[in-house]
């Protein structure tokens, strides 16, 4: 068990900067998620911690040890790869035992650990099989098992669920979270899937173009994104962004766009004054656009009339695709909504939870 500390870490491939000046402290026993679109540097960051990529600048510590020049085998880490990377010529038992054999563990200890891990993962009956005789989900479990038996200081997981089908992914997500509770080990987990990021980790690191955008607990990032990229990346369906102008009317703050004008709560945006009469990006999450039919006592200053383009019934709720003027946006409303494509519908913008971003820097205005 150990903390991991990245200090001003930079990785360049030739002239391309994959990771730029990343500083990050991962606490002991923490489940940290690195999330971002492809090419954002999250896998590279993980591979540098693993020792599979050299660091161009900066330092990485595992525990209190500077590991920059320590080969992967001596870092006491275990890694689960996206495509499993099981040794095809070894059966499941030997796949899991390989690392322990290399470290010259006694046979009885290897046996105990492999069987214990296999039991946790429910793969005891598969120990004699070769990887090619396993299903995707089973292979994934073996890959996890291979990491677990090592009892390493840090687990590194590189999109371990991305090759599983949707149902299995949901199941494994819960199992991994349980596993973390059980093993009480530091886990660094890379994913491009914001759902995994939201549901599994203690903290999320959002990366883009090699730069860390924001670090924080999932709900903190969800409710208080530092910039428009983070706001748009975390949450599904994604946050609606609309070009708008900030207006002052007496003491009140309004946001005006091509298709609507709504009042903002003054207390939410204390630093907004410098943006008055300037263009900003107005962000609001689909669940914060309410169906007026279900928000009877709504403030009239927050009501917007929009055209309904498409409705997507999801069962428990409906995604309504709305447009007004040049702007279009999605509302996530009650399944019993009366909104129908081709009609107009009244919705309420819950601006208590809306966001403003600077048009130039895309930084959050608070």
């Amino acid at each position: 068990m150990a903390r991991v500390y990245l200090e001003n870490v930079t990785k360049k491939f030739g002239n391309v900067v994959a990771v730029e000046d990343a500083t990050l402290e991962i606490a002991d026993k923490e489940f940290l998620i690195l999330v971002g679109p492809s090419g954002c540097g999250k896998s590279t960051t993980l591979r540098m911690v693993a020792g599979l990529e050299e660091i161009t600048e900066g330092n990485i510590y595992i525990g209190d040890t500077l590991v920059n020049d320590i080969p992967p085998k001596d870092r006491d880490i275990a890694m689960v790869f996206q495509n499993y990377a099981l040794y095809p010529h070894m059966d499941v038992y030997n796949n899991m035992a390989f690392g322990l054999k290399l470290r010259k563990f006694p046979k009885a200890e290897i046996d105990r650990r492999v069987h214990e891990a296999a039991k946790i993962l429910g793969i005891e009956s598969l120990l004699k099989r070769k990887p090619k005789e396993l299903s995707g989900g089973q292979r994934q479990r073996v890959a996890l098992g291979r990491a677990i038996v090592r009892e390493p200081k840090v687990f590194l997981m590189d999109e371990p669920l991305s090759n599983l089908d949707a149902k299995l992914r949901v199941q494994m997500r819960a199992e991994l979270a349980k596993l973390h509770d059980r093993l009480k080990t530091t886990i660094i987990y890379v994913t491009h899937d914001q759902t995994e990021a939201m549901t599994m980790g203690d903290r999320i690191v959002v990366q883009k173009d090699g730069l860390i955008q924001q670090v924080g607990p999932p709900m903190e990032i969800y409710h208080h994104p530092d910039n428009a990229f983070v706001a748009g990346f975390i949450g599904s369906p994604a946050m609606n962004f609309m070009d708008a102008v900030l207006r002052r009317d007496g003491d009140d703050l309004w946001v005006q766009s091509d298709g609507f004008k709504v009042k903002l709560p003054r207390t939410r945006f204390e630093t907004a004054d410098e943006y008055i009469d300037k263009e900003v990006i107005f962000g609001i999450r689909p669940e914060d656009i309410l169906d007026l039919d279900f928000a009877k006592d709504a403030d009239p200053d927050l009501i917007v009339t929009a055209n309904v383009d498409v409705t997507e019934p999801m069962g428990a709720e409906v995604y309504v695709y709305l447009s007004a003027g040049k702007e279009s946006y999605i509302a996530r409303v009650d399944a019993h909504t009366r909104a129908r494509p081709g009609t107009t519908h009244k919705v309420v913008f819950n601006t208590e939870k809306a966001h403003l971003f600077c048009k130039d820097t895309e930084v959050s205005i608070r």
Partner: protein, 272 residues
Amino acid sequence: MLKSVSIHLVLIAACIVAVYPFLRVVSISLRPGSALLSTSLALIPPGATLENYRTLIFDKDFTIWLWNSLIVSGATVLIGLLLAATAAYAFSRWKFPGRRQGLVFLLLTQMLPPGMLLLPIYIMVVRLNLFNTYTGMIIAYSVGSVPFSIWLLKGYYDTIPRELEEAALVDGAGPLTTFYRIVLPLATPALAIAGLFNFMTAWNEYMMARVMLQKASMFTWPIGFQKLRDQFTTQWGVFSAASVLVAIPAMLLFLYSSKWLISGLTLGGLKE
């Protein structure tokens, strides 16, 4: 149904074409001396005898030739695989100055006709005092087999996913352990093909051996066979018996290595 029948007809015809000459040789090797030039097509000749085999083994130097061939071919295979397996790994996995040029150079050596190399190799071998020695022959054969094997193995290593090696590195293996515990076992099909090819090349080679071997005790079987022909007569029965016997090691090797010549060995290790 019709398709299956026609496929079988073609395959049976191909088998006959392939096997018949060999059966003729077997047949001739069994003929008694009096019937050597008989035009009979019977596979088991009348009065079949193993006399030719006895003559070959006990009255000629056949066992010496066979032994020499085995030593030279076996060592060529071993040295070839040892050098090629490691060199090809370097070419496949690491970027170093001269990598491209090295690969092209190795390919160029394969384009020279073997006859062209006879004289330079002969001169080198004589200067190095390796004339009439196993070492000389093995070096001469390896000159051809190592570059070929490097190319073959490099191509195969390129298809082995790097993640497997990375997994091993994280699991606690050093680069060398990763190579022989993970990469080499997965490359067995390519190693088997390279080994087989190098063995057959060295086993059947005549021209180089003819130039490099003068001492009868060093003859490999292709040179030895020539000695079965006298100036005026050829003992076709003995010659045929010898042909049958030298085919046996090659056939055994084929059968033995066939279990490694399985495709898809890396199947299942990664998500396809």
